[in-house]
């Protein structure tokens, strides 16, 4: 039972390069989220999705784009990476219904460095 899987686990980019982070969940969850975690801070929500084909902005959306073409996948894109985007990125998913609704299950994180 994989839960939430993030790829890659580590990545180093040069300023201006682009990349896509992939999040996959096998729990049939409706909701998916992308967060970033910077030193000394809690996680901050970048974008989220309440279903296939829908996305919405979170607390810190600038410089990122997302897509949810399939229910199980949620992609986070950086079109032109900047050093300020150096961070650890977490994906999470949650269910709409049931006893565990509103509980977010997290992936292991992706450490991204932008030089």
């Amino acid at each position: 039972n994989a839960g939430v899987t993030q790829t890659p686990k580590f990545r180093v980019l040069k300023t201006g390069q682009s990349m896509t982070l992939l999040c996959a969940q096998d729990m049939n969850h409706e909701y998916m989220y992308w967060y970033r975690q910077d030193p000394g801070m809690g996680l901050r929500l970048i974008h989220y999705s309440v279903g296939e084909g829908t996305t919405a902005k979170g607390e810190v959306p600038d410089g990122y784009n997302v897509s949810r073409l399939k229910k199980q996948n949620f992609l986070l894109g950086l079109e032109s990476a900047a050093p300020s985007q150096t961070s650890v990125y977490f994906c999470a998913s949650s269910s709409l219904l049931g006893g565990n609704s509103n509980i977010q299950y997290f992936g292991a994180g992706t450490r991204l460095s932008v030089l």
Binding site: M41, G42, Q104, F106, A108, G109
Partner: protein, 112 residues
Amino acid sequence: AQTVTQSQPEMSVQEAETVTLSCTYDTSESNYYLFWYKQPPSRQMILVIRQEAYKQQNATENRFSVNFQKAAKSFSLKISDSQLGDTAMYFCAQEANNDMRFGAGTRLTVKP
């Protein structure tokens, strides 16, 4: 806007003792959830406990319990019989309408 404040950057406790981590939050929402997550050095975010705001009864999970004071917007976590494996960062979080806000975390060290 929702905000979550954890006023204790670091805490330590002796093994088998009890420790309480503090958290306050601010929200205008009437329907929301509160969480404590644990983040060990592995970086994995692990749910410790959840509290629905509409429930007056404090949530408990084995050695972990909360003191939820809705009027004061306070949500503290009590860890009883602390174990070495409890050493981690602990994050308080508040969620409403798919918007989850985290505090800055408390680094807890359990000493043998």
